[in-house]
Structure formats: structure tokens, C-alpha cells
């Protein structure tokens, strides 16, 4: 019972970690590749084109 509870909580912790890391990653991709604020757009311009993001 104890081992089962612990396995379940470890699995839940693993999923939570993965979800949080993926959300952080998607946030970074949005910031670097998609946000249209002009300073960000100009700074990331060449990378957005080269990486295949819709740029402007």
C-alpha cells in the first residue's frame, strides 16, 4: 500500500514536471518566434525567417 501510494505520487510528480517544463518551452517558443512586439520582432527577425516561423 505504502509503495503503491509512493509510486502513484512519483508518477504524478513526473507528469506535473513534464507539463510545467513543456509549458515553459512553449512560452519561450512563442516569445522568440511569434510575439509581434516590434523590438522583439526586429531582434528575432532573421531567426524567425530561418526557422520557418510566420514572420510578418
Amino acid at each position: 500500500m505504502t509503495t503503491q501510494t509512493q509510486t502513484a505520487s512519483t508518477a504524478r510528480a513526473g507528469i506535473l514536471s513534464a507539463v510545467f517544463a513543456a509549458a515553459l518551452g512553449l512560452g519561450i517558443i512563442t516569445l522568440a518566434g511569434h510575439v509581434q512586439a516590434s523590438a522583439l520582432h526586429d531582434a528575432a527577425h532573421d531567426v524567425r525567417h530561418a526557422t520557418g516561423f510566420p514572420c510578418h
Binding site: Q6, S17, A18, A21, G25, A32, H49, A50, P54
Partner: protein
């Protein structure tokens, strides 16, 4: 008896910490290393094509004008604009760190289901990532050289994200589905965005020669493939390495 009691009274949070820091550390190493190499590859192979296209975008060169235009104009030399190139390096590393976080998070879920990943199998993960994040959206919204005609950027971004999500799920189903239904669903998910169609411009107004546009798309895909293979392999390697380190420390 005593160790079991210790286990039973432990809250869930200590288990979260090593797992999250293992994902974060491997993703940061993999993203920074792959991003740096890719940034240099882009500066050498993609940037000159982009700078060439900008001469047409700005009107400095005119295609199909009164006189034929040389295909080999004087381009600004490599590293002629250090701020611009430096920003490109920073943003490439940032972008690939974002990709790495998603990739390693998925690797951790796969490992929990009994599919361990290392530097060698990471190559396959990288290929799947390339298909999901680069090839699938680029199959219809081809990598754009500056100056091409395109539909509204917001509409294209929505289509881009939807296509990446569909292709990402498809890659997971192909890798771990293991039955004919999941392969069929994957095929539908891969084709649907392109059958529905991406936002297209109403008219063609691009001033850039088609030769430059085609070369740009080919170079972007080529460097993208190398980038993702490196990212996948690095992510798998650091993920394994961090796992061993966390185990040794425990």
C-alpha cells in the same frame, strides 16, 4: 521498518524537484549546445540568402526591370553587422532551448512508460521534432524569404500552431501507438492541415526572384534537419547523464 516509515511520511514535493530539475538541466544544456551550432550554420548558409533577398525587398535590386540583374551582387560580408548576428545567435539558442524543454518533457513521459531515451535513440526524437515543428508547417507555409507576399501574420500563426500540435500528436502515435488505428489517426492528423489549407495571400506581390526563395526554403529545411537531429541526440544524452547523476546523488 524504519525506511518504510520514512517513505510513507514523505510528501510528494521532494519527488517533483529532482524530476523537474533533471528535465530543466538536460534541456538547457541540449538547447544551448544545439542552438549555438545551429546559429553558426544559419549565419553561414541561410543568412547570405536572406541578405540577398533583402536587396530586392528594399528595392535596391529590381527583378524583371529594364536590365538583367546579376545573380551575384556584392553582399555584406559575414559578421559585418555584429549586433544583428549576435541577436540572431541569442534568439536561436533561446528558440532551441524552448524546443528542448518540450522534447525532454516528452522524453520523461516516454521513459516513465518504459521507453528510455539516450543520445542514440535521441536522433529519432530529433527527426520526429523536425517533422512536427519544421517540416509539417513548412509543407504548406514554406519558409518565407523576406519580401514574399503572405496572408495576415496572426492567421498564419494560428494555422502554424494547430499544424505543429496535430503533427506532434501524430509523431507520438506513430512511435508509441502500436496499432493500425493509431497509424491511421496519425496519417489523418498529418494530412488534414494541408487539405484544409493555410491562410494564403490574395495576390502575389513578392519582388524577390523565385530562385532566391527556393534556395532559402531548401537551406532553412536543411539546417533545420541538422538542428533537430543534434537537439534530439543532445537532449537524449543529457537526459540519461542527468538521470545517472541524480541517482548517484540520491
Amino acid at each position: 521498518m524504519t525506511p518504510r516509515m520514512t517513505c510513507a511520511t514523505q510528501p510528494a514535493s521532494p519527488a517533483t524537484k529532482p524530476m523537474f530539475s533533471r528535465i530543466l538541466t538536460s534541456a538547457l544544456f541540449a538547447g544551448a549546445a544545439a542552438g549555438l551550432i545551429v546559429a553558426l550554420l544559419q549565419l553561414v548558409f541561410v543568412q547570405p540568402v536572406l541578405l540577398h533577398a533583402e536587396l530586392y525587398e528594399s528595392g535596391e535590386l529590381v527583378h524583371f526591370g529594364a536590365e538583367a540583374v546579376s545573380a551575384h551582387p556584392e553582399l555584406p560580408g559575414m559578421f559585418s553587422d555584429l549586433t544583428r548576428d549576435g541577436l540572431s545567435v541569442v534568439f536561436t539558442m533561446l528558440t532551441y532551448t524552448g524546443y528542448a524543454l518540450v522534447l525532454v518533457a516528452l522524453m520523461s513521459l516516454a521513459e516513465a512508460q518504459g521507453h528510455p531515451v539516450d543520445g542514440r535513440t535521441g536522433v529519432l526524437w530529433g527527426l520526429a521534432g523536425f517533422i512536427a515543428f519544421h517540416l509539417a508547417p513548412g509543407f504548406t507555409l514554406a519558409p518565407e524569404v523576406p519580401g514574399v507576399a503572405a496572408a495576415d501574420v496572426f492567421a498564419r500563426q494560428i494555422w502554424w500552431w494547430a499544424t505543429v500540435a496535430a503533427a506532434g500528436v501524430a509523431m507520438w502515435l506513430i512511435a508509441f501507438g502500436g496499432n493500425i488505428v493509431s497509424y491511421l489517426v496519425a496519417a489523418v492528423l498529418l494530412m488534414a492541415p494541408h487539405l484544409i489549407g493555410a491562410p494564403e495571400p490574395d495576390v502575389f506581390t513578392g519582388p524577390v526572384p523565385t530562385e532566391i526563395g527556393a534556395l532559402f526554403a531548401a537551406r532553412a529545411f536543411g539546417v533545420g534537419l541538422v538542428a533537430w537531429v543534434l537537439l534530439g541526440s543532445f537532449a537524449g544524452y543529457f537526459w540519461q547523464n542527468e538521470g545517472k547523476r541524480v541517482e548517484a546523488a540520491a
